[in-house]
Symmetry: C2
Subunit: 280 residues, 2 copies
């Protein structure tokens, strides 16, 4: 239980101070912070709330969208925030095809050049790494499920994320393993081993794959145990690969969001225990 | 234009004789046949209709669902049908997790054992290959988009399909490259080259990825040019890898299905020409 972290998006109606209090009340030691709620309460107040609750910040979510204009400035601000929070990493969702807005129809002009978008991500990452290194912030590349390739992340597999991270030192650029995004990947066992051996495992996030997906696929993430992923086996593989950080529960789900956050945390703790039952 | 094939599901309200007539009327030389419509008109009548229209059968769709009970018997019937039609291949959609129904919530009891499901697919394939070989039918493994992993295909990438096919002779087991399913894959260029070099390219199907996806993700396939895939580049890569067969247009889309099929074919031919413009 000492490695369980609440990713704030799971209880997104809570402000950051409310979420920090909630974590403390439920005996959690870590929180994954979102920049939206951090902006709402202000950086200084957010840092104070997290410190007062005695929490580690397992991640700051999120920087990225590196294929869009103005991305570097916004990511430098995110790096500054991660440094102030002493976050274990800044999660980067790298962005989709240039000009394609998340979850909406593209305008008349957009780019279909997927290799070009991937090259742009690599360039922007290279531009950010020195800035992050100076501030002691580790960037964490998050491969997203391939169904988000067009609008959210042209980074779609753990192997691809490791290839990209490999151009930089492991303590500066790691990867995020999010169960929902990668569970289907036939190369996952081998890539988890590779990620662990190269010291790149920066974050592990869990939620479940509901079957069938809801109409808005962005909200298609279930509480652990409510979907089809073999989360005990996946978690065992991540731990066996050498992951030593916190385990964040990040759930995008309209029903979870409308529920009482305290009840969500109670359920989350029970399901987390079940997921880890029998593990070392 | 002589390589353009109408996959019957694109004009699914047409019976097989109607679709065969439609292809002939529009100057097409090939058709991808679906077993549902074949069953409706009967095998003998279906074969006559296709022959009378002077069409090649670029594929029979589809066998598979190898993780379900009774799969082998049904697939042997599909092989028999493919032999009668002289189809270039029998497309196999291999099936999802055992007990998870396509597009519906799973019952209380189902399997989360993804490696086990993949092993079951490999075993069933091995059992079918000799039967198909005796009848001169080539099986074609279709990797489906990872968002269908739970309920339709635990085969999710071209590389995985080639690994599986590699246990059998290339003239007996090939792979399907469906643009909608594989366009996002960072390993696609390398795997296309591998597929071509090993003589495994059995079918190429095209449609486009709409942005955003519709509420029912099964129907999320657009007419070429209406989505975000760089189809000219992908098609060039498939042809450069050595694919010499027909190019099937297969569109699952409620609007396309409700349109006049003759108009769909007219649009399809124009978009196909645009897709191939500038290619050798």
């Amino acid at each position: 239980m000492n490695r369980l972290s609440l990713n704030q998006w799971t209880t997104r109606r809570w402000s950051l101070p409310e979420a920090a209090d909630g974590c403390a009340r439920h005996g959690l030691q870590a929180i994954g912070v979102w920049r939206e709620q951090l902006a709402e309460c202000g950086l200084a107040a957010g840092v104070r709330a997290v410190r007062a609750a005695g929490l580690r910040v397992s991640s700051l979510c999120r920087g990225g969208f590196l294929t869009a204009g103005g991305a570097l400035d916004d990511n430098r601000r995110a790096i500054d925030e991660a440094a102030e929070l002493d976050a274990a990493c800044l999660v980067l969702v790298v962005g989709g095809l240039p000009g394609v807005p998340p979850g909406a129809p593209p305008p008349a002009a957009f780019s279909r050049d997927l290799p070009g978008a991937r090259a742009r991500v690599a360039e922007a990452l290279a531009a950010l790494v020195p800035y992050a290194a100076e501030r002691g912030v580790r960037l964490a590349l998050e491969p997203l499920h391939p169904m988000y390739c067009a609008d959210r992340a042209v980074l779609s597999t753990l192997g691809q994320a490791l290839d990209l991270a490999g151009h930089h030192p492991a303590d500066r650029v790691g990867v995020v393993v999010d169960a929902f995004h990668v569970w289907w990947d036939p190369a996952l066992p081998a890539q988890l081993t590779r990620a662990g051996a190269s010291g790149r495992l920066a974050s592990y996030q869990v939620s479940d794959w509901p079957q069938p997906l809801p109409p808005d696929v962005l909200l298609g993430r279930a509480m652990m145990g409510d979907g089809v992923i073999d989360l005990p086996a996946l978690t065992a593989a991540v731990l066996a690969a050498g992951y030593t950080g916190d385990i964040e529960v990040e759930i995008f789900n309209a029903e979870v969001w409308s529920a009482d956050p305290d009840e969500v945390l109670t359920t989350m703790k029970r399901r987390y225990r079940e997921m880890l039952a029998g593990q070392a």
